[in-house]
């Protein structure tokens, strides 16, 4: 494996694991905030997560991420050590969330391929200022801390007492001066380790500097000037030499065997210093690691494996190809007219298995909505705080699953709708009180299955939409197409979904920003979904998003126009029919219309829209297909229906989609005979009316 490859998979793993950690952390903070106090477990967990992120980021040389994580780790280290103090939890929440956002943004940048290091001083200095304040406050609280520490020093230095205390020194006396390798880190611990190992075969041990553990400066001193050890041992010079040769990370070793008369001096000098030395710092720090408890998540790891989405996409593609191949075999033109009973039997069996395989692969790609639903807690929290509104988020049906690719398209619209609900839906505290509503506003986020679709419903108990305001605005922006008197409430409310409409009088930081609901609708329609609005004055607004369960394979109806084949999603087809001559009318402007059961619909000739040569132009000779989405209907005219078939949706290349701005086509598919069929986008036809 090449070095590049190694780095890449490490980077993937880093991004994956760090994002997971951030999510877990955010959830932890939001959950904790409700109880307004940190539990010991939460503190330990936050510390541990930040510690992990710090370590991984440092390995990947993302210094900025590492230092932010380090600051938070430091903060929680202090909080953990002084959990008895009263701590301003709100301040801590804000700092941690800010750090999460920073690291999350940074991950996005890294994903996009940026290597630039961001300036983190703004955030780290904020955290350290907060920590300093905590420390000052703490010192005010506990004055006796220093006393305790001194006692500890006396108690803890017993570790080397064997060596130091025993004065009946035998063997040879050595003085060894060592210099550690540059960049080997934790020189003081290396010195400690060394002393510890020497103690195993020596007596009368002492060292300079002797406060190797406690004094921060001793690390720098050892790094620069080295470290002296004095000891007595039965070992010979050569043996001692071998010992040091086998010791790691030593740049330079000077071993001196000392004569009797030099001895007294050195021992006494070293020993005096040793009195206050080689000391464990506060015992508390050591207990830290023992206390670390954690979530149950890690236990489940054994039965779950992580698979890269690309592999699942590939698998899905292959199953798709298989579905096509199956059609190619079963509907092979060579078989036409033959009586093949056994073949058909086998083909049915094959079909059963491919269908099952399809369902299984599909189910692997399904992910619960819980992930994006849980993210909404943060939005509610941040906005509630900023706008001074009390809002409760209720989540129902978060276990509902949709295709992985759909989740991607759902996240932004949900955030937008959520913000709208809180910003424009939920009233101010005073208004709610005046209306006799509960002080705390409720936003409900619900998901449920409905046939081949999933419904995501965002409902608030706010003031509802203002019909008159909507109409006024629609009129002003020129998007009103019907007489007001003819419009139902629902139609009026749904005006807000149209491009060029935005009711936000005052654009706030959260919702609005000049971007209207039409962006939400566009996002949802991209995955074949739809949005509808209902509202009751002073009772609230409900926005329903309908999205298909999956995108990859749809049940399609193939239709023919001349030599071209098109596919319509069967679910959007209401009926197909051949009209009588008297049902076809022409309006004042010369537009063709068709009457169906007393309703009038515009005629859409597919061959005109796509500019192809048809076999049939007479409306009574061809076939009409009525499509319907959410009460909106249109009639499409084609030469003939070919038949129903499961089709695998292949995306159009960006070149076709973006450069040529092709409308009305959502993708393409391969048919049983190997020809290509364009998949029509019913939404576009309906919006064209």
């Amino acid at each position: 494996m090449s070095a590049d490859n190694t780095m890449e998979s490490l980077l993937d793993m880093f991004i994956f694991e760090t994002s997971q950690n951030l999510e877990q952390l955010e959830k932890l903070i939001i959950d904790n905030e409700k109880s307004s106090e940190f539990t010991d477990e939460a503190i330990n967990e936050i510390f541990r997560i930040m510690h992990t992120i710090k370590g991984s980021a440092a390995m990947m040389m993302f210094g900025d991420v590492s230092s932010v994580a380090h600051s938070v780790e430091d903060l929680f280290y202090f909080i953990r050590e002084h959990s008895e103090d009263h701590i301003d939890c709100n301040g801590v929440y804000d700092l941690v969330l800010e750090s999460i956002d920073f690291i999350g943004d940074k991950l996005d940048k890294i994903k996009a391929g940026s290597n630039e290091e961001d300036d983190v001083t703004a955030i780290t200095s904020k955290i350290s200022a907060f920590l300093t304040k905590l420390k000052e406050k703490h010192q005010g609280v506990s004055q006796d801390a220093t006393n305790n520490d001194t006692n500890k020093i006396a108690a803890d230095k017993d570790d080397f007492s064997d060596g130091i205390a025993s004065q009946d020194a035998g063997g040879n006396r050595f003085k060894v001066h060592v210099l550690f390798e540059e960049g080997c880190q934790m020189e003081s611990i290396r010195a400690f380790d060394l002393v510890n190992k020497i103690a195993a075969f020596s007596t009368n041990l002492s060292c300079v500097p002797n406060d190797i553990m406690d004094n921060d400066n001793s690390v720098a001193f050892i790094r620069e000037h080295g470290f002296d050890v004095y000891f007595n041992t039965e070992k010979s010079y050569d043996e001692v030499n071998t010992f040091f040769e086998n010791t790691m990370f030593l740049r330079k070793v000077d071993i001196e065997e000392q004569k009797e008369n030099e001895l007294a001096n050195n021992v006494s000098k070293a020993e005096v210093e040793a009195e206050a030395s080689i000391v464990e710092p506060s015992k508390k720090q050591i207990d830290v690691a023992e206390n670390v408890s954690s979530s149950d998540m890690h236990n489940q790891a054994a039965t779950i494996i992580n698979v890269h989405v690309a592999k699942l996409d590939k698998l899905m593609d292959l199953v798709g190809e298989m579905v096509i191949s199956e059609a190619m075999v079963v509907q092979n033109p060579d078989l036409q007219g033959l009586d093949l009973e056994n073949f058909k039997k086998a083909a049915r069996q094959l079909h059963k298995i491919t269908t099952e395989l399809q369902d299984t692969v599909m189910s692997i790609r399904m992910v619960p909505l819980a992930d994006i639903f849980q993210k909404m807690h943060r939005i509610v929290r941040d906005m509630g705080k900023k706008l001074d509104k009390e809002v409760r988020l209720e989540i129902i049906g978060e276990e509902t699953e949709v295709d992985k690719n759909i989740i991607k398209h759902l996240s932004d619209p949900l955030v937008h709708l959520m913000r709208n609900s809180i910003d424009h839906g939920i009233e101010d505290k005073e208004d709610r009180a005046a209306k006799n509503k509960p002080q705390v506003g409720t936003v409900t986020l619900e998901a449920k299955n409905a046939g081949n679709d999933v419904l995501v419903i965002i409902k608030d108990d706010g003031k509802g939409l203002d019909k008159n305001k909507i109409l006024e605005k629609a009129k002003k922006n020129g998007i009103l197409k019907k007489e007001v008197s003819e419009m139902s409430d629902k139609e009026i409310f749904n005006l807000i979904l149209l491009p060029g409409f935005s009711t936000n009088d005052n654009i706030t930081e959260y919702s609005g920003r000049g971007v209207g609901m039409d962006i939400v609708v566009k996002n949802i329609e991209e995955v074949g979904g739809s949005v509808s609005v209902e509202s009751i004055e002073d009772a609230g607004t409900t926005i329903t998003i309908k999205i298909p369960l999956t995108l990859a394979i749809i049940d399609g109806m193939n239709i023919r126009v001349g030599k071209s084949t098109y596919t319509l999603p069967t679910i959007s087809i209401k009926e197909s029919f051949r009209p009588k001559k008297e049902d076809i009318v022409t309006d004042f402007y010369g537009n063709e219309m068709i009457m169906v059961r007393g309703q009038c619909y515009a005629v859409m000739r597919l061959y005109e829209i796509f500019n192809v040569d048809p076999d049939i132009t007479d409306l009574t000779e061809g076939i009409f297909i009525m499509i319907e989405i959410d009460d909106k209907r249109a009639c499409i005219f084609a030469d003939e229906l070919i038949g129903q078939q499961d089709v695998v949706v292949k995306a159009l290349s960006n070149y076709i989609k973006d450069v040529h701005k092709i409308h009305g086509v959502s993708g393409c598919t391969l048919l049983g005979d190997g020809s290509i069929s364009l998949i029509l986008d019913p939404g576009w036809f309906l919006s064209r009316q």
Binding site: M186, F192, M248, A289
Partner: protein
């Protein structure tokens, strides 16, 4: 080949260490995501050397170190620590850890440390 067990709660770290070790002719015989699993795996695959993270859920690295040394007094455990964990590393050494690596580590540091621990017999 020297057999190594990697104990670390961060999958990223396990992967990073594994890559370094495999490149340098060590055999990674197991991975564990906390001290408890680490102890189990130690009993199962009796590695020559264990790399042990300190801060982990369930059972910390220090606890696992103690347990492993209780089980096998000749166990060779190398602590993987971060800056700022000096006192914990010290505690680990007092409890039988043979050496330590500091994160972020250099590749040759790990290799050198593990090789010399293995050679020490």
């Amino acid at each position: 080949m020297i057999k190594v067990l990697i104990v670390d709660d961060a999958a990223f770290m396990r992967m990073a260490i594994r890559k370094v070790l495999e490149k340098n002719n060590f055999e990674v015989v197991g991975e564990a995501e906390n001290g408890e699993v680490g102890l189990e795996k130690y009993k199962q695959c009796s590695p020559d050397i264990v790399t042990m993270d300190i801060t982990m859920p369930e059972m910390s690295g220090i606890e696992a170190l103690k347990e492993i040394c209780k089980h096998d007094s000749n166990a060779k455990v190398v602590m993987v620590s971060a800056m700022g964990q000096e006192s914990l590393v010290r505690e680990a050494i007092l409890n039988g850890a043979k050496s330590f690596i500091v994160k972020p580590y250099k590749e040759d540091h790990i290799v050198q440390t593990l090789n010399s621990i293995a050679a020490a017999g």
